[in-house]
């Protein structure tokens, strides 16, 4: 086998490959023998059809198949032998066709991983974002929790509605004296608060006693969802049946227990704080990674193979679709415009690919490696994070591919740490 390699660009190579005749002949013989065993022709017992007749009938088919097989194996061999770091299957052109007296030749164009020489990666500008959690943030989160756990309780010793109450009412509404869809309902809870009636806020009920009725006019918003009453004024009659008020739980140990997160208030605060800190740290890490990638790419410009970008887009799309599915959406029903989505993702994907290549180059230059021990440690961390037993996590990362991926991820993390250590913080 003879191979000539021509570099078309840093990311594309052309291989001209010549395969000896004998190898092709061998493949042909194998193909016809295999075919002869299967073929059924009238006048011949199965497996007894002479090759001559097979050739007469199936030549094109067999030759196509043989060409494909020879190209595939020759290409793989050539790539291995000449260390062509292909990122996608090659495009094969100009094959000479099978001839009995001449070697078989073809050309393969293939995108290769560019040789990236990372430079200027010391002193990258970074902004240190604070991961400090203020007391106020914890308080805010607590207030939210309290609100979400509030209960409605019956009002005792008072039968006149006040602002802030929740009233249980029956209502009947008419537009120009007529009913409309949804004009009547029983036992609806409305809040006495300023706002739109359609959002269950009825401030005008203030002062109405239990058992009494109150009539009022209300104009529906112009974009209301019921077509018949859009922008029209309706006469509403509310009958108040009961009053309730919102009781927000006290911030005490009992509340902490009820959240199911902690036993005491102290512990709950600590947990919330830790959560918030973790969130901030994660966000800061993401931002720093982004900033590093951006700075690196600015300082090192090179072309990336299309195939790598496309593959990254594929992965990103898949992740997004999976995230959607987790949230209960069916991507098939959303009528997504995939071509546009891909376009939208392209820039980000390109950045991701470039960043990954640069990180790899830096890791190689700085001799940053990951050991099996590192991987084990990461596995333990992952197990803790996912609250799973380590054996489960280990099972998931059993395959060589998964382990390799994890090891790569670790190397990236390490390299980013290294870069951060050298970065200039402002």
């Amino acid at each position: 086998m003879k191979v000539q390699i021509e570099e078309l660009s840093p990311i594309e190579k052309k291989l001209s490959i010549e395969v000896e005749n004998s190898r092709v002949t061998e493949e042909l013989t194998r193909a016809y023998t295999a075919l002869g065993k299967q073929v059924k022709l009238p006048g011949f017992r199965q497996g007894k059809v002479p090759r001559r007749i097979l050739e007469q009938r199936y030549r094109e088919q067999v030759e196509d198949e043989v060409i494909q097989r020879v190209v595939q194996s020759a290409w793989l061999e050539a790539a291995r032998e000449h260390k062509v770091d292909a990122v996608a299957p090659p495009q094969v052109t100009n094959n000479s066709g099978l001839k009995t007296d001449a070697p078989f030749t073809f050309e393969a164009r293939v995108e290769v991983k560019p040789k990236v020489e990372a430079k200027d990666y010391q002193g990258l500008p970074l902004t240190r974002s604070s991961t400090q959690v203020e007391d106020k943030e914890v308080d805010d989160r607590l207030t939210q929790l309290r609100e979400s756990m509030a209960r409605l309780e019956n009002v005792e010793g008072r039968d006149t509605a006040q602002m802030g109450d929740f009233a249980s009412v029956d209502y009947h509404a008419t537009v120009e004296g007529k009913d409309f869809p949804g004009s009547k309902a029983d036992d609806v809870t409305v809040e006495l608060a300023p706002g739109e009636l359609v959002e269950s806020n009825v401030a005008a009920l203030e002062g109405t006693k239990v058992g009494e009725a109150k009539e009022l006019d209300y104009t529906f918003p112009a974009d209301y969802r019921v077509e018949d009453v859009k922008g029209k004024t309706a006469r509403f009659k509310f009958t108040v049946k009961g009053l309730k008020k919102k009781v927000v739980p006290e911030l005490d140990d009992a509340f902490a227990k009820e959240t199911g997160e902690a036993q005491t208030m102290e512990e709950l605060r600590g947990k919330i704080r830790a959560d918030l800190e973790q969130g901030k740290r994660n966000k800061a890490q993401g931002e720093e990674r982004d900033a590093l990638f951006k700075a690196l790419i600015e300082r090192n410009s090179f072309e990336v193979p299309k195939a790598m970008v496309e593959r990254t887009i594929d992965n990103m799309l898949e992740n997004r679709l999976r995230a959607m599915a987790r949230m209960g959406m069916d991507p098939r029903q959303l009528n997504l415009d995939f071509a546009r989505l891909r376009e939208d993702l392209r820039e980000e994907a390109t950045k991701e690919v470039k960043g990954a290549l640069l990180i790899e180059a830096i890791a190689q230059k700085e001799n940053i490696q990951t050991s099996d021990a590192d991987v084990e440690k990461k596995l333990e961390e992952l197990a803790k994070e996912a609250k799973q037993d380590i054996s489960v996590v280990r099972k998931y990362f059993k395959g060589a591919n998964e382990r390799e991926g994890l090891s790569l991820r670790l190397r990236e993390e390490k390299t980013i740490e290294f870069l951060k250590g050298q970065a200039k913080y402002s």
Binding site: G43, F44, R45, K48, P50, R52, I53, E55, Q56
Partner: protein
């Protein structure tokens, strides 16, 4: 007989393929009414070869049954044509068709 009506098609089987190799005998399915002379004439004209001899016989169709119904495959006339040494008919040789 019109020479275009004589030969209906080639007949290729393991046995006849061996005969072709050994004795330069080529076989055809021919019209039932065609005589040996008709066949010789047609083969010479159509394939531009010289014929040394022709043997014919009627091949009886097999009776076949599918469940209760019995059927019979049609009879046909087989002609085995021996060519003069050196001549051949490409159609039977394989390769280019």
């Amino acid at each position: 007989m019109n020479i275009n009506d004589v030969i209906k098609g080639p007949l290729i089987t393991e046995k006849l393929d061996a005969a072709r190799e050994k004795f330069r005998q080529y076989s055809f399915i021919v019209d039932k009414k065609a005589s040996k002379y008709d066949v010789a004439n047609a083969v010479e004209k159509l394939f531009k070869v010289s014929v040394e001899g022709v043997r014919t016989n009627i091949v009886r169709g097999k009776t076949k049954r599918v469940g209760r119904s019995i059927g019979k495959r049609p009879n046909f006339k087989k002609a085995v044509v021996t060519l003069k040494e050196g001549d051949k008919i490409e159609l039977f040789e394989g390769g280019a068709v």
